[in-house]
């Protein structure tokens, strides 16, 4: 099915199942431990051995020698794989560095060897006996130092390095009120609960991978390319994923090394990456340095808006696209954005929840707060005044839907914004300085081709098969809701099977495109199944209604089970997209509100309450969507207050590579969260009229927190995370 004209009324609009706050259908499996994650898969060939990866001890240079003799002689060891005996390997399109290093070392903890043994403990003990000699090379590890060498990045996924409209320099110079500020965001780790894990098994030349992966088809392709085998020979199974946040969009060392280990050991091999590898062996969100310049008239109209961002990555890598939202979020006739990419020899940078917008809004939305203060305006009024209903770089493109102002005003009322003191440092509650902050949320909507197969059996059960993944987001449930709505059956008559490359290729989970795209694919397949049912009964699908487990047309009513008969019916289709996303700018919007208390003596910052108001198209399942948004708000609070991969600029690695050192929020950090979804349907996105929310939820949160800290203390911190050491100098004197 091709989606190239805005949706009209369709069976989804019945909203009997869609739009209802439905419990996750995979919930009981997860809470009872019955959902097998990659490392726990039970339906695998017997006799699996265990692999433990050895990571490079240097960030850049060469492996002079690897001595595996002691490790080979250790108890239980079956085989050891290194670049020297792994055969020729390619590199996947989505990998920047090689997943098995040697002789060249590209980053710290790059895999250099795999030890396979009878037990996990034996493999780990033997891995400690592998001795590697290195020749260190000088690397670049300091983004600030590398700024001057940064160059415009190659266009990737349609993003370009520089944009310009009007005459920014002249307008900025002429503006009566200006802001020119520099902000930094640190490297972030996905820090998902489940580490990357894979079980690999070969049957002849056919490989099966049970793994934790967000993008099944990408990863089959990359694994085939890396191993130099046909894609058809690989089956990748990833039904349950314990968090990904972009860290599992690609194959990583666990998958490749398990495949190589299984081949060498001639047995299935299981590997889970140890926690320190999540920081240094896998990908992370790259740090940014951002310069924002705003110029405005005295009454607050933006006349010049400029956003520059610098980030670094390994040679051949990509930038953190932190200026993207600034091209779209606020009006202003004179504009410039610029991205620069430096070569850094730190571990590979890549996508993490809302890449681009998450760190971009961390800077932009502080800048907006600062500018509002300079103008003597309320920060909400300032944003509303500079709203735009068209793409400000291409005014002929309207936003398909844009309710940013409504998000801000709804939130202001609900949160009690009027009680905020415009003067910072003015509110106190015992030993706590208190303050409120706001920020806009913005994340682009992306639609991606997605296919599904649906089966109808004689019991009237609809089974959906698609390689879509559920990374804890609720994909199982919204897909079941979609099929139930389309076929007119209750939820318990739908079975959803996901995450298997044997199923039709879906959009996968990433970029918050999963919910709308994958359900649209199921919509297309169900539309075909409806036709098949009607055709089998000699009815016209267009006139038929699918209600209560029956197809009804005129005075005929046939149960779906009966229609399917013993043979059952199968339909498969995919949703493809025309150019609506070019004609309309499709984005999601929100407003984040936060109240903090800051200990007047110690500077400890504690969030008191948070509110998000989101306008993101049709909300397919308000309960799952709320969970996504509160999770994202929590992650945003982490980015605001504590998350930072600390770089050792001498040795080139992330030092705090465990969950004791890389702090993410705990329950005590997140006392009260509320989420409001504005009523919205977007007919330009798909027949589902939905968009994503999972990434929108994090966008702007950190700035709302930082702005609240400023409002509480009068101390403006422009370098994340906002930690107490950065406040101490500006807090009130103590007795």
């Amino acid at each position: 099915m091709k989606f190239d004209t805005p949706a009209t009324t369709n069976p989804i609009d019945r909203l009997k199942v869609i739009g209802k706050p439905t419990n996750r259908i995979d919930g009981p499996l997860k809470t009872t431990g019955a959902a097998p994650y990659a490392y726990e898969q039970r339906d695998i060939p017997a006799n699996a051995a265990y692999g433990f990866i050895v990571g490079s001890a240097i960030a850049k240079g060469r492996l002079v020698s690897v001595d595996t003799a002691d490790a080979e002689a250790a108890p239980g060891v079956l085989t050891i794989v290194t670049a020297a005996n792994a055969g020729t390997l390619g590199k996947g399109d989505f990998n920047t560095a090689k997943l098995l290093g040697g002789p060249d070392i590209e980053h710290y903890h790059q895999a250099i060897a795999l030890v396979v043994a009878e037990t996990f403990e034996q493999a780990r003990a033997a891995a400690a006996l592998v001795r590697a000699d290195y020749a260190r090379a000088r690397g670049a590890f300091d983004l600030t130092a590398a700024m001057d060498s940064a160059a415009p990045p190659k266009p990737m996924f349609g993003t370009i390095a520089d944009t310009a409209v009007g005459d920014f320099d002249a307008a900025f110079a002429a503006a009566p009120v200006t802001l020119d500020a520099r902000y930094t965001t640190p490297d972030h780790s996905h820090a998902m609960m489940e580490p990357h894990a894979t079980i690999a098994a070969w049957e002849g030349d056919r490989l099966t991978l049970w793994t934790a992966n967000q993008m099944v088809a990408w990863s089959v392709g990359d694994m085939a390319k890396t191993l130099g085998i046909p894609k058809e020979n690989i089956r990748l199974v990833s039904p349950y994923i314990g968090g990904g946040f972009g860290g599992k969009l690609f194959i990583r060392a666990d998958a490749l090394m398990a495949a190589l280990g299984a081949k060498a050991a001639k047995r299935p091999v299981k590997i889970a990456l140890p926690r320190p590898f999540i920081a240094n062996n896998t990908t992370h969100r790259p740090a940014t340095i951002q310069r924002i310049r705003l110029g405005a008239t005295k009454d607050g109209k933006i006349t010049a808006i400029g956003h520059e961002s610098w980030s670094g990555d390994l040679p051949g890598g990509g930038p953190e696209t932190a200026v993207g939202q600034t091209r779209l979020l606020y009006a202003g006739p004179n504009r410039m954005t610029r991205m620069r990419l430096a070569v850094l020899d730190l571990p590979e940078g890549n996508a993490m929840r809302a890449p681009g917008e998450a760190p971009g809004l961390m800077a932009l939305e502080i800048a907006m707060d600062e500018m509002a203060e300079k103008l003597g305006m309320d920060p909400i009024d300032f944003r509303i005044l500079n709203d735009t209903q068209v793409d400000p770089e291409k005014p002929e493109r309207p936003f398909s839907q844009r309710q940013l102002n409504e998000c801000l005003t709804t939130g202001a009322g609900k949160f009690g914004w009027a009680k905020r003191s415009a003067k910072p440092g003015a509110a106190r509650d015992g030993r706590w300085l208190t303050g409120m902050g706001v920020a806009a949320a913005f994340r682009n909507n992306i639609n991606a081709t997605s296919a599904a197969r649906v089966r109808l059996d004689k019991a009237g059960v609809v089974t959906v098969e698609t390689d879509m993944t559920d990374i804890g987001t609720g994909s199982y449930t919204i897909i079941a809701q979609t099929a139930a709505e389309m076929m007119g059956v209750p939820l318990d008559k739908v079975v959803v099977k996901l995450g298997d490359s044997a199923f039709p290729v879906s959009a996968g989970s990433g970029g918050q495109w999963g919910a709308n795209s994958s359900t649209a694919g199921v919509y297309a397949a169900c539309a075909k199944l409806r036709e098949a049912v009607a055709a089998k009964l000699g009815l016209n699908a267009a006139d038929a209604e699918f209600v209560d487990g029956e197809i009804r047309s005129g005075d005929r009513r046939v149960s779906l089970g009966e229609a399917a008969g013993d043979a059952g019916l199968v339909a498969e289709d995919r949703m493809e997209y025309g150019d609506l996303a070019d004609k309309y700018q499709q984005s999601t919007f929100g407003a984040h509100f936060c109240e903090v208390g800051v200990d007047a003596a110690t500077g400890e910052i504690r969030i008191r309450r948070m509110l998000a108001v989101c306008a993101a198209g049709r909300i397919l399942n308000p309960k799952a969507a709320r969970s996504q948004v509160i999770g994202a708000m929590t992650m945003g609070a982490g980015a605001a207050l504590m998350e930072e991969l600390a770089v050792d600029k001498r040795f080139g690695f992330f030092v705090n590579h465990d969950l004791a050192g890389y702090e993410v929020p705990v329950h005590a950090d997140i006392p009260h969260q509320e989420v409001i979804f504005l009523d919205e349907t977007d007919p330009t996105t798909s027949p589902m009229k939905a968009k994503g929310v999972g990434e929108l939820g994090i966008c702007g949160v950190a700035a709302a927190v930082a702005n609240a800290v400023y409002n509480a203390t009068g101390v403006r911190v422009r370098d994340y995370p906002v930690t107490l050491d950065k406040l101490l100098g500006g807090l009130p004197a103590i007795a």
Binding site: A601, T602, M642, D648, V666, I734
Partner: protein, 316 residues
């Protein structure tokens, strides 16, 4: 983790005798620190002597009017003990500020005192670390040191001791009771228990190899207001950036010990004479001789400010 053998000791004498037969062995109590370090190949004992079931898990009054806390009393039980809560509130507050409920259920009094540093470089066997591998150097000096020591450090090591409980114990003048392989018992005042890092940061306490902690004793209650303020970036489940343990009497006199600033709980008795004069005066004595790095210089004003907050709270 290196493969190891294991035995369970039935009595303290059995435990020390077992050590005599297997030098280089380790006692294991709750295992919440030791096992993590073994998994990461930081500690590699060939033999473990399990002391967790020794009958050292009671809290008894002493004839001096204090309390004798068995070495195997779990952190949870110690924090909850009615006498501790009444007379040594500082200790309860320090304990519950540490780790998590599950960990405190396992962690023991002795193990807590002997937990090892959280210096991030200590945890990465690729990095030089004098504490982990004597003579290899110190990666933390000149590296990432936001959490590390500002006092008492040496050119060989700038690690901090991470325990919250020990800071309270120091303020309360606790004493560590031990027995060695020859059956000889001794009591080490907590003030003398931890060694300065000097050139041998791998030697952390005055315990001899195989010496077993049997109890920690507290002197008789000293009254006053007990406050433990642990400062950290997140609200719970994090080690202290710094902590202040204070006992403040009605007349403004009192005691202060600091956590998160040195290789041991930091207390300067002479500085306590300034308590009635306020935080600034006390802090200048407490922090004399500090050697902060660029990353951790904030700890000095933070100590002073936190202490000021604590003194204000004590006043009510």
């Amino acid at each position: 983790m290196k493969a190891f053998t294991y035995e369970r000791a039935a009595t303290p004498a059995g435990a020390t005798a077992a050590f005599a037969k297997a030098p280089g062995a380790r006692f294991i109590a709750g295992g919440t620190n030791l096992l993590d370090l073994m998994k990461l190949q930081i500690e590699t004992p060939a033999h473990l002597i399990d002391v967790s079931r020794l009958a050292l898990d009671t809290i008894e009054p002493t004839k001096e009017g204090g309390l004798r806390i068995g070495a195997m009393v779990r952190n949870t039980d110690l924090a909850a003990d009615a006498r501790v809560r009444r007379d040594y509130g500082l200790l309860t507050r320090a304990l519950v500020a540490g780790a998590s409920g599950q960990l405190r259920n396992k962690a023991t009094t002795a193990g807590n005192l002997l937990q090892r540093t959280r210096c991030p470089y200590f945890y990465d066997t690729n990095q030089p670390c004098n504490k982990r591998q004597p003579g290899s150097g110190c990666a933390a000096i000149g590296g990432v040191s936001r959490t590390l020591a500002v006092l008492g450090a040496s050119e060989a090591c700038i690690a901090t001791h991470p325990s919250d409980m020990a800071v309270a114990m120091r303020a309360l003048d606790a004493s560590v009771e031990t027995v060695d392989a020859a059956g000889k018992a001794r009591a080490i005042p907590i003030a003398d228990f931890y060694r300065a890092p000097g050139t041998t940061p791998h030697l952390e306490t005055m315990l001899e190899p195989g010496e077993l902690i049997t109890a920690v004793t507290l002197p008789k209650p000293m009254g006053g207001t007990h406050i433990y303020h642990k400062v950290r970036d997140r609200a719970s489940y994090a080690f202290a950036l710094i902590s202040v343990a204070a006992v403040v009497q009605k007349d403004g006199s009192g005691r202060v010990a600091l956590g998160g600033v040195a290789h041991k709980p930091w207390r300067v008795e002479a500085a306590e004479a300034d308590m009635p004069r306020g935080a600034k005066a006390v802090a200048s004595g407490l922090l004399a001789g500090a050697t902060p790095s660029h990353d951790n210089a904030y700890k000095l004003p933070l100590v002073e400010r936190t202490l000021a907050g604590v003194l204000a709270e004590a006043k009510g």
